[in-house]
Symmetry: C2
Subunit: 435 residues, 2 copies
């Protein structure tokens, strides 16, 4: 088969776009030699030319108008790196409709509009690849879809948000409050000014939605995915967790339950010796439990210019090879016509729980709490009651339970919080025992 050039158009030159452009321009010969495909970056579009100075040789490829690339019949592949819903969605639709393949790192768009985009790609015989959208530097999507294709997965546990993992690590190491650790994360470039998407679990929920599609062939509206952030976690919780032998991590969990699937994002106490507990700072890791391979863990940088750019370029090379050899679209694989599993509400989970009660400093409080828990068939696994009352006269009682139904737990805690001697709303954190 005659070799031809594969032309690529890049839309969006933020940090990742700059990395992608640099790799494609610098490594063209290396890629050709390694993968027998000649990839040419033909155009770069962005509303601002500012980042061009960081792309040697980029200036002559620049256009302010993305339409120039989208309408160029010589361009085979569009890389969308502007993020957000609009106009990214319109650009991608336009590219797919025009017979171009698309590579994106846009997790939000995929989580919100994946359904229509994959359907469009399948209909048009084009491809939409997105390795960089989840755990940037880790070749996770392709491992699930190709290397592990002989597996059915039972569960997936992921630390998929580097910002929150950095904040939690920092809180543990320095005993800083959330707000202080957040500030440090922002100073170091690990958290954005608009940090709430990260700290409230929204970003992780978007990634969970994508992973449920890829690994469990089930597409759920992002709004239906339970999420809880880390803003209410205190250094005290982290210290008590440690006393019990656990570390607190923000987890994305996808897990079969009966005939359905749970998909949820929340902070969790995980055993200190578990493989995800040692994932520190801005790193990501995903634990997959396959029926053939058993437990697998992928660990690496989830974000950052070059890790993510590396994933984008991997996808571009795949698509270029497909173009060159006339391989048909694989979009059908991600166009979920019917969910493999129905979504099980998060309240159906049966877990252990960590409670931190803030109570009045007088006798009988623990007994009263224990009585309510017992009445709800929640048994106590461990208790710490070592603090003294602070200036507010409130003493912490910290507790781990055995497994109980979330519904029952919520009911019991509502009753406990209604008691006179309970001075603060009870902190509840789930305990997750990884496979």
């Amino acid at each position: 088969m005659e070799k031809r050039k594969i032309n690529v158009g890049l839309i969006g030159i933020g940090t990742i776009g700059v990395g992608v452009a640099r790799i494609l321009l610098k490594d063209r010969a290396r890629i050709r030699q390694k993968k027998q495909v000649d990839i040419v970056l033909k155009g770069i579009a962005d509303i601002s030319p500012k980042a061009l100075k960081r792309i040697p040789g980029g200036k002559k490829l620049y256009t302010r108008d993305a339409q120039k690339l989208l309408n160029d019949p010589d361009i085979d592949i569009i890389i969308e790196l502007i993020g957000g819903i609009n106009p990214a969605k319109q650009f991608i639709r336009q590219a797919l409709t025009g017979g171009k393949d698309v590579v994106t790192a846009n997790k939000k768009l995929l989580a919100y509009a994946g359904k229509s985009l994959f359907a469009l790609a399948e209909k048009k015989g084009t491809d939409l690849k997105f390795e960089a959208s989840v755990c940037g530097g880790i070749p996770l999507i392709r491992s699930i879809q190709d290397g592990l294709v002989a597996n059915e997965f039972d569960s997936l546990y992921g630390i998929v948000n580097g910002t929150t993992n950095y904040i939690l690590t920092r809180m543990e190491e320095t005993c800083e409050e959330f707000a202080v650790a957040l500030k440090t994360a922002q100073d170091k470039g690990f958290a954005e000014a608009n940090y709430k998407l990260d700290t409230r679990g929204e970003d992780a929920a978007q990634k969970a939605a994508i992973l449920a599609r890829v690994a469990f062939k089930s597409a759920f509206p992002i709004s239906s995915i339970y999420r809880e952030g880390i803003e209410h976690i205190t250094p005290q919780d982290i210290r008590y967790a440690r006393d019990f032998g656990y570390r607190i991590k923000l987890l994305a969990i996808i897990k079969k339950l009966g005939t359905g699937l749970q998909v949820r994002v929340h902070p969790a106490l995980i055993p200190l010796q578990s493989s995800l507990a040692s994932v520190r700072n801005e790193f990501n890791a995903v634990l997959l439990n396959g029926d053939q391979t058993g437990r697998l863990v992928f660990f690496g940088k989830g974000a950052g210019c070059y890790p993510t750019a590396s994933a984008v370029v991997g996808d571009v090379i795949d698509l270029a090879r497909k173009r060159q050899y006339g391989i048909p679209s694989a979009a059908a694989e991600n166009n979920i016509r019917q969910n493999r599993f129905p979504l099980v509400p998060a309240t159906e989970a049966k877990l252990s729980y960590y409670f931190r009660f803030g109570v009045a400093d007088r006798p009988g409080v623990l007994a009263a709490i224990a009585r309510i828990l017992a009445a709800n068939h929640i048994s106590i696994a461990a208790v710490i009651q070592k603090g003294h009352a602070g200036r507010d006269g409130v003493v912490p009682i910290v507790m781990l339970t055995h497994e109980a139904h979330e519904k029952t737990v919520r009911r019991a805690v509502t009753r406990i919080d209604a008691m006179d001697m309970v001075k603060k709303k009870t902190h509840i954190i789930r305990v997750v025992h990884l496979p």
Copy 2:
């Protein structure tokens, strides 16, 4: 493009072969639906039909004669799972020459004869895939070659032998001697009767050779790869290492040094908090340091029927899709015509070292040892001298050094071992600080 059946012949039905046959027979429809390719297991060859009873539907596919499959013009892909050099090599050569693609898990053959086999595959336009040959359950080869293709690697550190990792874990947990832990490993099926390939580092060296080819584009004769096993490690070493904050693991290390490459296999003290230190029992893990992605770790089962079978099936699916869509061979990628890097002798390494001296129980010994080390410009980082003489009158002195040249270290230890008051040959274990 019209879809056709892709016919597969399986040679060798040991544990992995059985797993592969079961997956291909049971999951044909699932694979067709997931990956749009129809893979038919057309024949199974083995000198013994014994394992057929574990393959439902396998009997009617059986032949005693591998030539039946190798000469069948309808067979597209041969899976070689007999292991060892002969007749596996001849079978694979025959298949490749006859225009068939090959999937193998045969690390020994690839390490010894990879050069001629990949050259043959490239010449014939066929493919030779081998994901299962290194860290069975972990999709490592494909991640390096596809997902991480935009990366240059600086170093690779792997726990790639499950048997020795199981033994070392067991020795740490129970303080058993090597021979006792080995017996347990054999009883549990984690070590073979002929265990020496594992415990002497031969198996890990074969995997290192394959990884040097894949990740560093350099093919070295297996005999040139430095290897040292774990048979001389004692529970005392493991305990002392722990006192210093380290754990002992058998590592395969590939690392750029100057313009060359070190490839070596040996036990090493690695910091307790490093990501590879928590890899326990029969699990494998590989740490890769890429210029774009930074540090990546892949963790999973390195052996076992289904993890390895899963990797074989992943390769078969790739090849079937390539056949279906007429994609040319990728064998050139692994046919190293010229090494990217020359091999640097292991003695060129500059590392820290762990010494365990067995000395006479009298004053002045430590001073004498320290004097020799100082004369060789080896500085001491930490010393433990807490034991008392056993019945043999020998006291251990345990020491960690700062970085020193291996050559110098060997020279100094030879001088120390020649001293009267040194009663036993000094144990030397390298200390490795992972990125």
